[in-house]
């Protein structure tokens, strides 16, 4: 990435004003993937001086500032309480400690990275994003929006709910991007399933979830739900594996995930 000028924002209003000057201007999150892009940015805007890296737990929800690093997030006890530690479980499989000390949760969300190991479990939770201009938007609505959003992500709010969680990253080596990642959670409202790195962005398996949440949970219905996930979601072929392979592996790990969160082991 080529950056022609850099502006250290003094306030959110200042950052937004500079962002609005040119469609090609950009907010820089952690900057972990800057080297992977060939883009030219007239003005990069840094939020590092705005103290947007706090995590607050008010008992009903956890609010995480957009400049919070993935390691800060994974180490926070309130985050660990969500669905059997599912978020730290996903975060701690993202490359190494050093990278996670710079990568921010805001950058991960705004990038809508299809390979993200964090977005897959996060999508299953009740997550509200707070933008400087647009106000509040659910994470799933944001991820489904097409194109770039010319706004500043201030924070994300995760509703605190108790339940069980399962996360599986399928990768060729420990430090590699996921061939596929699978997240399953259960709470008093039922079951949720999402698959990411298909290779496109994480998506919930809505039809399989509806089936599962309207039937008795047993080995047979778990197997059927896993099969439906592999049929419902679209898988694609990339250098990591074929669409058939991803669908097949996805079915296996959804089945294992459902067994784990429902206590229906073999």
């Amino acid at each position: 990435m080529r950056i022609e000028n850099y502006h250290r924002a003094t306030s959110l209003a200042d950052a937004y004003n500079h962002l609005s000057l040119n469609k090609k201007n950009a907010i820089i999150g952690g900057g972990g993937w800057l080297k992977l892009s060939g883009k030219k940015i007239p003005l990069a805007i840094g939020l590092e001086g705005l103290a947007l890296d706090a995590i607050e737990d008010d008992g009903e929800s956890i609010t995480i500032g957009s400049m919070t690093t993935l390691n800060q997030m994974a180490a926070h006890p309130s985050v660990a309480e969500l669905y059997s530690n599912i978020l730290p479980e996903a975060i701690n499989q993202i490359m190494g400690v050093a990278l996670r000390n710079i990568v921010t949760v805001g950058g991960t969300i705004m990038g809508k990275y299809p390979f993200s190991d964090l977005l897959t479990p996060l999508l299953l939770m009740d997550v509200t994003l707070e933008f400087y201009k647009e106000g509040h938007l659910s994470l799933s609505d944001f991820l489904n929006q097409k194109g770039r959003m010319d706004d500043i992500l201030v924070s994300l709010k995760i509703a605190k709910k108790t339940g069980k969680g399962y996360f599986k990253k399928v990768a060729k080596t420990a430090l590699d991007f996921a061939v596929l990642n699978v997240a399953v959670i259960s709470n008093d409202l039922g079951y949720k399933i999402a698959i990411g790195s298909r290779p496109s962005r994480a998506k919930m398996a809505e039809e399989a979830m509806t089936y599962l949440n309207n039937t008795e949970i047993n080995q047979e219905t778990i197997n059927e739900a896993a099969k439906r996930v592999s049929q419902e979601l679209k898988f694609g072929t990339n250098h990591c594996g074929s669409a058939e392979y991803k669908a097949s592996v996805g079915e296996v790990y959804v089945r294992r995930g459902l067994r784990e969160v429902s206590n229906h082991e073999d």
Partner: protein, 152 residues
């Protein structure tokens, strides 16, 4: 752009380009102990400490260094020398290209001031690639170093 930061306990004021990475700034300052490897955050050889935490210097913008503290292996010479003895004793050193990055991560572990089990050490070392040693000898050396085992 002008930045003011602390480098190995000394205050520095320098000019940097808007897209200059910390690794390039450190090389400009003749700190070649910080290696260039993959240049895309994957290999760990460019690791330095930023406010005492390991970060990949190849992908950290230098303009963001204002009022922050950077430590390279030159800033922890005594610790690095001790660790080198342990590496030597365990045969954990071949080409040495990855050593300075690993030394800084080990230094960060040591600063936690608590006993670390093998899993935690492995967790901290994830992201440091070594093409020579196979990791086991390094792991043994680091465990012994952190435990203060003088018999190595």
């Amino acid at each position: 752009m002008k930045i003011e930061f602390t480098l190995n306990n000394a205050l520095k004021t320098i000019e940097v380009e808007p897209d200059e990475m910390l690794l390039d700034t450190l090389h400009r300052l003749n700190l070649y102990s910080v290696r260039r490897g993959c240049d895309t955050t994957s290999c760990g050889v460019c690791t330095v400490l930023l406010d005492d935490k390991p970060v990949p210097s190849c992908s950290f913008l230098s303009v963001r260094l204002d009022n922050r503290s950077v430590t390279t292996v030159e800033g922890i010479q005594e610790d690095a020398s001790d660790l080198a003895d342990y590496f030597g004793s365990e045969g954990a050193d071949q080409c040495g290209y990855c050593n300075s990055g690993i030394a800084l991560s080990v230094h960060a572990m040591k600063q936690l001031n608590k006993p670390l089990d093998e899993e935690t050490i492995k967790h901290y070392l994830t992201g440091h690639l070594c093409r020579c040693t196979g990791y086991q000898s390094q792991l043994k050396a680091i465990k012994a170093y952190l435990d203060g085992d003088k018999h190595v």
